[in-house]
Amino acid sequence: MAKATQSPIRSGFVHLALIAYTLIALFPVFLTIINSFKAKNAIFREPMAVPTPSTFSLVGYETVLKQGDFLLYFQNSFVVTVVSIFFVLLFGAMAAFALSEYRFRGNTAMGLYLAIGIMIPIRLGTVAILQGMVAANLVNTLTALILVYTAQGLPLAIFILSEFMRTVSDDLKNAGRIDGLSEYAIFFRLVLPLVRPAMATVAVFTMIPIWNDLWFPLILAPGESTKTVTLGSQMFIGQFVTNWNAVLAALSLAIFPVLVLYVIFSRQLIRGITAGAVK
């Protein structure tokens, strides 16, 4: 390509700026994690130092594991997130298939109806959602959260998946029809495997707001047995606000699963956001 190459000085400045911002982005997380492994006076005396054998201490983690039921919170968050993603993907893909594959009266109207939820946040209906959950006796159950998150995730999932399903070749589906496959078999056996990459993208997009949500756990499921990690660490830190070891350990425990998942899925996620633009 006939392109003027970057001068080393200029690209040096660019690297400097990017490194500076990377430090700003990572520093708070790094600071929290290193200090969670230190004894209390070391946290205050030298907040910047990495833990050494003389300052190393797990007292924060001990407090967290003794006082808060973090294993249960993790389990709750995990169940809610996985089940919600499952339903968002299954129902979303089915609806997206109906909208992209068949021509029927009201198709466009249905598409628009299902798209309202992309822009209007579900939180605004909280007053009536709580009322409905009370009436259905679902307050303080994980089911309530799963229902809400499924409804929350569906609009965007349907939108993205129907865009992808339009790209699946008609010849393939028609060949299936000639071979006598039912419409259900065409969907589950031909189309679903082909849109798997899009499903992974939707799963990642659906997962982040569910895992991080504080609003609905706080309102619909604040009970001890149904707390999610986000709500559990919020309440735990509120109680132990003067115990810095415990607070830092609780924060690190909450960061850890996100960090692990991000390291595994970051390529998938970034590719999803930049949608094929990455050359």
Partner: protein, 316 residues
Amino acid sequence: MSATDHSDPDLPTIKRPFRWHIVVFLAPAVIVYSAIMILPLIETLRLSLFNTVEGQSVFVGLGNFSTLFGDDRWAASFWNALKNNLIFFAIHMVVQNPIGVALAAMLSIPKLRFVSFYRTAIFLPTLLSFVIVGFIWKLILSPLWGVAPWMMDLVGLKALFSPWLGKPGSALIAVSLISVWQYVGIPMMLIYAALLNIPDEVIEAAECDGITGWSQFWKIKLPLILPAIGIISILTFVGNFNAFDLIYTVQGALAGPDGSTDILGTLLYRTFFGFQLQLGDRSMGATIATVMFLIILAGVSFYLFIIQRRMRRYQF
């Protein structure tokens, strides 16, 4: 598939069996979405027209709205929350978007090394929950721990440090900047994608015409990424006007100090759910949710019907 089709079975060319599979495919999503999202939203809008009088739900028309805007105490907290929300949004727009554009522009420089590392690292905070982000920054900015003063000392600005989160004058700005820190990854990614989508030919043509460097960015690239900036702005608008978690985590449900960080989300929570001595008020909660709905609807319509229509799109 109208009724006439079924009443006339002698015309097989018109009649087509009802395609039940379409219903089966659509039903689960439509039922869950309608029952949990659309109906509660409508019900909330309806509830805003009712109030409880002597234990009975009574239709009061726009009575709740006249309380919200007419009653001194309600009006004061509502306008305070709305004003803070607008400042919150304005800070996002003027800080988050330029930083996002700048980072994306640097990342999209061809043949730059370590791009994927920078991209991954800068996007990380976006994935953390507000609870984590809020508490980390609360600790860092705490005068007790002294990390922030120590760092400002490094650049010789220690005298400027003050407990920003605790002062009514600076708390809102501090909270907004924390939110910007967390969310800058989204504009960065979307603009980065938009920049990579600009075909090489366009850039080469510009270079042949002698447009390079800064003027190339302003004259060629910026107009081409304006649609992406538009999408980011509307996403930020919707996100900011139903924000709640970060303020609740950093400043508590009272959105202190002295209500200076109170935004519509926290006001809705306190009104609807109650806090400390204040009892929860369903009708007024629904009223505030309705106002938030109208604000968001106005913003989204403004974007869809005015901005998006006028924006020039370029086809390559």
